[in-house]
Structure formats: structure tokens, C-alpha cells
Subunit: 253 residues, 2 copies
Amino acid sequence: MTSDIKSAARVLDMLELFSTRCDGLTLSEVARGLELPKSSTLGLLRTLHKRGYLVREDEDDSYRLNDMIRRDGFARHGRILRVAPPVMTALAVDAGETVLLGMPDASGLVRLLAKEASPSDIRYDIELPRKVPAYCTALGRVLLARMEPAAFEAALDSVPRAALTASTQVDRSAVIDAVEAARETGFAVVEDEFAVGGTGVAAVIPLGQGQPLAALGLACISQRYRQDPARLQAQLGGAISRIAEAMAGQGNM
Amino acid sequence: MTSDIKSAARVLDMLELFSTRCDGLTLSEVARGLELPKSSTLGLLRTLHKRGYLVREDEDDSYRLNDMIRRDGFARHGRILRVAPPVMTALAVDAGETVLLGMPDASGLVRLLAKEASPSDIRYDIELPRKVPAYCTALGRVLLARMEPAAFEAALDSVPRAALTASTQVDRSAVIDAVEAARETGFAVVEDEFAVGGTGVAAVIPLGQGQPLAALGLACISQRYRQDPARLQAQLGGAISRIAEAMAGQGNM
DNA sequence: AGGTAGTGTTCACGTTCGTGAACGCATCGT
DNA sequence: ACGATGCGTTCACGAACGTGAACACTACCT
């Protein structure tokens, strides 16, 4: 059998090292501890830092494990995956449309983590796990609306803005305007831009500090959405409140 | 800032994906979920499997997250790092020598995770974090004694067996004999092989299933060790029992 | 004030990896 | 029984990475 992939093995070494230390470690300490060249160590530390696994202290240039990673390991979005599904099931029945839970993924993408399909035979369905672009999906736009300006700019250009349907907004300024609107209203509605006949409506789930950014959305058949958008938006808002309350109730930060 | 290191980022993606799924995922499902080529996915899955992060089900070729990783994340040796130090402090005072806790690292190496220095001004001390070779250290030999034959053979040849002192055993057969002796007696004693004037004595900590392999050892000034080896070995044995009992008492598998 | 030591960081290039194409195999449908 | 499909796996080669050497900077000591 072939040997390990070097960087993959090293990143695990690094995380294991940090998990044995409560105080921070400098780049040089990590390099010595793992017997790596400093420049190789730097690349891996930057990757872990960028991904949110490590936090860097400004005062002494040391790194330490993100407290949430230390507590939950990889399952940092595990709690919301336990809390959200029952609420999503109820919403799917009430709204009659498919419910999706998504989180930011690589720049410009949304990772769909959970799904409750509509009970209707005619439905907008997807298979999990799945990633979708942010620029032309409701989940994506509300998540983009919560990003720092630099990350937002980068996200806009990280994924080619292809016209997936005749209605897809691909113009950069138009997408910015749509995200700005989502920021102001708290909702995003995307009609027929990602899939013909499909409308997405989504909002961010307001969670506390230290919690991962997540959004809930409805994936609707466009004709049904147009019949009563206010009802669907209200039902989505209600579900989001229930999830946020349940997460706050279990909070033990 | 430069972009992420591809494999490092991907291995995190993979672990996060598995942490959202209780049931297993096949290679193809992982590749689809993360939008990776199958051959790239295979390399990363093999690395994670080899490192013990993933378990592979024979019946359907699917992978799933190791239960211990799912529960503890990276801190899979976190519990012993909480339990052992108070016992090690007491042992350092009783024995008058430095106490070390070690675990297997890459093939042929031991990772030193915790240390209680001897209160004596004349002492055998090391800085953490640190890795030492297995072939010529007491901690290493007792850990080698617990390995499967194939892993043991590989470990013997993974690290060049340099003569660190005039007493270092570098002959392959002699090292095998020393490890065999450690297997039979439950102890390893290494006099002046790793450092002139330093003697190591170590034994494995008998922990339950699913617990990581770990060993405790004394790093003694050789002259002091020779004065009363039986006392030091007995004190080490007593500390190991206390650690094992404490770990069993907290066990909630 | 100047020299030394160690830090974090950059970069060019040799080394290693990532992966597309292809393979052997198992399963399923006709 | 045979063809189609999708699985896990292998391998050669272009692409990307790892890292030694060097740098700029900071802190400390004389």
C-alpha cells in the first residue's frame, strides 16, 4: 500500500499536537515539536488558521486550537444537525416544500448539510451531500450577506458565475445588489435562477457567538411559491426562530 | 496570502463530511460529496484510515468515522493527559527522577506527551513536545512490544538505528531480543543507550479497549538508578496502576 | 551602539503529488 | 447469457508542493 499523503498526515499531527496544549504554540515551537521545516509548518498553520481550526494571538504570534474545535472536534456543526431536523420536518409538512440547511463552504460555495423533502409528489429535491454556488442561490446570498467585505469580494470571483438558466443573474453588480437586498431584508428569494421552475427562499439562523454560520431555506416549486410567498416566508421565519431558541437553550459556552 | 495547501484542506473537508454522517460512506459517495476525483479521494481515505481516523467496513467497502474520534475529536489522548499528571507529580517526588508519558508516533518513533521533572538539581530532563526513537528508549521498547508483528518489523527499519552512545544497541537482532524481553517482563530498562549517564525504565499503561496505547517511564540518572533499581521499578508500577484505575473509573464507553 | 540569536516570512526549483484514463470486477437489467 | 453501468483501484505524467537558503525584523546581551 502506498504511503500517506504528506500534508494530510501532517495536518493531523498538528491538530493532535495542539489538542495536547492549552496554551499557545509559536511557529517555531510547532516546527520543533513535529520536526518539520519552518516553511512547511507555516503553510500548514496558515491553512488551519484560515479554516478556523486555529486561532492566532496577535500579542505573541502564537497559535492555539479554536475552543469550539477543542470541545466538539470536527462536529462543530454537530449540534445544529441534531436540533434542526425535527423543526425542518415540521416545516416541510406545513409549507409543503423541501427544506434545506446550508453553511458556508469553500469561497463562493454553500454546503448543504441537511434536507427534509416536501411530502408532495411534485417537489424540488436534491441529494446530499451537495455543494451549490452562492451567487445564484437563496442560501448562498444570505450567507454572503453576513461575510466580511474582503471575503465577500473573494467569494464573488471564486466560482465562475455561469448562467444556469435564462434567468440567472451573472452580472457582478447585479449579484452584489441582490446580496445587499438580502442583507437589508434578512431574506433572499431566488426565482428560477438556479433551476428552472424552482424558487429558493432563505434566511440566516441567528446563533450566538462561537456558533457556526448557518442558514435555512425552502426549495419551492416556483408556481406554488408565487401563489402565497408571504405565508411561506412567515413559516420559514417561524422555523428559524424555533431553531435559534433551541440552540440558545442548549448553549453552554 | 497564499492559498490553502490542497491536501490539508481536503482532509479537513473529509473529516467534516464524515462527522455529519453516522452511517458509512463509500469512496464514490465521498468523491461526489466533496466533488473530488476518485483517485484523489482514495489517497486521502487511505491516509485517514491508516491513521485510525476512519474505520472501513469489509462488507460494503464503506468508511465511517472512528467512534472515538467522533466522541473526542483530536483529543483522543486528552483524558490520559488529564489523569496522568497528578500521579506523575507524586511519582517524581517519590522516585526522585523525571517521569515521562509517551505514545506511539510515526513508525519507529515515540511522542513524549507529558513530563514531570525530578525535584533534584541533578536530573535527566527534556523539553516538550519531543519525539524520540523507539529502538533505544525504554518507552519505545515497551510500546514496540505491544505492536502487531508487521508494524513492529516496519518500525525497526523506519528510523536509522544510530549509535547515540557507545552503549547503544543498533544490531537489529539485539533490539528484537530487547523488545522480546520487555514483552515477557512487562518492563524495559535502557541504560546509557540513548544518553550517557541516563537510564530509562518504562512499562505500558494497561488501558481498556478503544483507549490509546500509552506508556509511563522514569528517566533516571544512571548512578542513582543502579543504587536501587527494584525500588524505582516498584514505584513506577504503583503509579501505572493508579493511572489505569483512574482511567477505568472514569470510563464511560 | 553594535553584534548575536532567533523569530516569522519569502521564493525558486527539485521532488512529490493529483488525477485522467484505463483496468478488472461485481451487479443489474434485458 | 450478455451488455451496460458503476464500483474500487492502478499508474504515468503534468501540475503543485515542500523546503533550504536567505531575508527583514525584534529582542537581548555586552
